[in-house]
Subunit: 336 residues, 2 copies
DNA sequence: CTGTTAGCGCCTTCAA
DNA sequence: TTGAAGGCGCTAACAG
């Protein structure tokens, strides 16, 4: 069944023209009689012919492909970002190659040079040194999830996000607010630091001493954090988690402990991942898909040299209030 | 900065050998002195040279790339499958191109011919006619999520999954079991039908008349189903949802209605998506990542002709009991 | 074991 | 407006 795919020559023969003419038509290059153009198009269709990016790339030096590098495809977040990336690239007729790089230590060993026109990294929290490694690929690099001066970046304003979230809780009347952040070993990622900073600065402005708990990321971390909170002197009336995942862990641990949300404790996450809606979890919307779309568009523009290679795109965040946050009990009781 | 990437010639010059020797070394072809081999390797590394799949593909007729076609990357499920696909392909040194095809109506228009060695579709529920369209690409086609005779397929035993789930509920003592399935318009997908069939056959064996509610998929559908159930003559004591997503909708609707899980109603999902663990939702494990891995491995094998092009791989499911299912209240009360 | 030669399918000159 | 010729980077035959 897998017969040899038709080549440009087949199309040329069928249309009764030369190779170059077919090439011109398919590249939408000018200088072909409309009538001929139509005939060539038809022949190509009939043969279900598609230009081999392989061959054309050899000549033009462009592959028509962009590599998207993610740490993993399993967490919901990365799929959502890539969804946007793919869509945006598609608009510019670029294909998306996806590489899962377990850790960033082998980023330099990817078969990227000559195999993709650009590289988009998704939330890998790369150090400058690692960026250099990717630079050696010799193609433009677009970073998402981190801001690095002099490089193309797409990111959300993490700091503003947690700042707004914190204000949301303060405005509801909370003062005993615990912040749950992530730490892997002793390392705190850039975005985690930014989120923590946003929280702490607002707490500082309010004259309240921050109450920070750092645990490994993921919902296990959220559960561990609750364990720590529950064994302390006093309970918070609100918990702000660095990520929805951690908030989910908190949610579960509180539920299992019989602590009602939001009656006893208000809970907020960050990321607006799908299930937060189902759980009625108040969260900070960060629209990962939009991050992807912006990154894809920026990449296409950089390739066409219509935007500089060090453009920064900052996406806004917004609070999505749901039922997991409410005024603390004391306030409600005293005001009723 | 983006200097011209080094080519094979550069490596050859640097190592003081001919092009073919370099080619042989990098292809791990036999017939090169170990000493020379080593020298070439080093030169290539120093130039951070990577073979252009573009150029080599031109000659070999193989691209070193496999296209994964998904309806969308946003739902958690597809990312999980692709995660496995990517990993498996990587073992065979194949890259993964990801295409999001909104609907299956344009599957034939993808730039696939000559641009990928094989196509893997993920849960697109393709009709035979649409498969034919993809066949015209001229490369092997591997389907996941559906079983089609004569084609390479990787799928879970949906029927057995819901059958086991139903038995689980029956064994707990439930008899008023509602099944929530999905229907888009009047169309029911193949896997939905299989799941429903598994449920109904076990109900039939037990001599209980099935109680089926069909709604649009997603958690909105789950909520709608609850709406229907709550307005009926009598409430079920257990609900089995076709998918975790629908189960999540049920979960939310029940929670909002103040109906306790599992005290008033037991709830089961299907899919074992990440959040079910957080929600303590009993579910049918289907390991999407494994589906992907199997599909990737099968694809690689088919390309190497070590497995036939119509291999079927059926993955087992298993029940993951959690806290959302329990014996119905009457039973518990009467036995206590 | 190593080097030479001839394309793979296409795009880009240049000439007609 | 069209066609012919050369070469992109690599591999697969062959010679040596």
């Amino acid at each position: 069944m897998p017969k040899r795919p038709s080549s440009m020559r087949d199309v040329a023969r069928r249309a009764g023209v030369s190779l170059s003419t077919v090439s011109r038509v398919l590249r939408c290059a000018p200088g072909v009689a409309p009538e001929v153009r139509e005939r060539v198009r038809r022949s190509a269709d009939e043969l279900s012919y598609v230009v081999s990016r392989n061959a054309s790339g050899l000549v033009t030096g462009r592959t028509g492909r962009v590599a998207a590098v993610v740490p993993s495809l399993e967490p919901w977040f990365f799929g959502a970002v890539l969804s946007g990336v793919g869509e945006a690239l598609h608009r510019s007729d670029l294909d998306m190659l996806v590489y899962q790089v377990d850790v960033r230590d082998r980023a330099g060993s990817l078969p990227l040079p000559r195999n993709s026109d650009a590289v988009i990294t998704v939330a890998l929290d790369l150090a400058e040194e690692e960026c250099r490694l990717l630079d050696r690929v010799g193609v433009p690099l677009v970073l998402t999830g981190q801001r690095v001066p002099g490089r193309a970046c797409v990111f959300v304003d993490n700091r503003a996000g947690t700042a707004a979230a914190t204000r949301h809780l303060l405005n509801l009347g909370h003062t005993r607010i615990a912040y749950i952040g992530s730490r892997t070993g002793s390392h705190i990622s850039r975005s985690s630091r930014d989120r923590l900073a946003g929280h702490e600065s607002v707490m500082g402005e309010a004259g309240i001493r921050p109450w920070t708990v750092l645990k490994p990321s993921g919902y296990e971390g959220g559960e561990l954090a609750v364990g720590e909170l529950l064994s302390g002197q006093t309970l918070p009336t609100a918990v702000l988690a660095e990520s929805d995942d951690m908030a989910l862990g908190v949610h579960r641990a509180l539920r299992r402990s019989g602590i009602a949300i939001p009656d006893a404790i208000s809970l907020m996450g960050f990321g607006n991942r799908d299930v937060t809606e189902v759980l009625d979890l108040t969260t900070v919307d960060q629209v990962p898909r939009d991050i992807g779309v912006e990154a894809g568009l920026l990449t296409a523009d950089i390739l066409e040299e219509t935007r500089p290679f060090d453009t920064h795109v900052e996406l806004p965040t917004q609070i999505i209030p749901r039922r997991s946050t409410a005024a603390p009990k004391e306030t409600r009781e005293s005001s009723s």
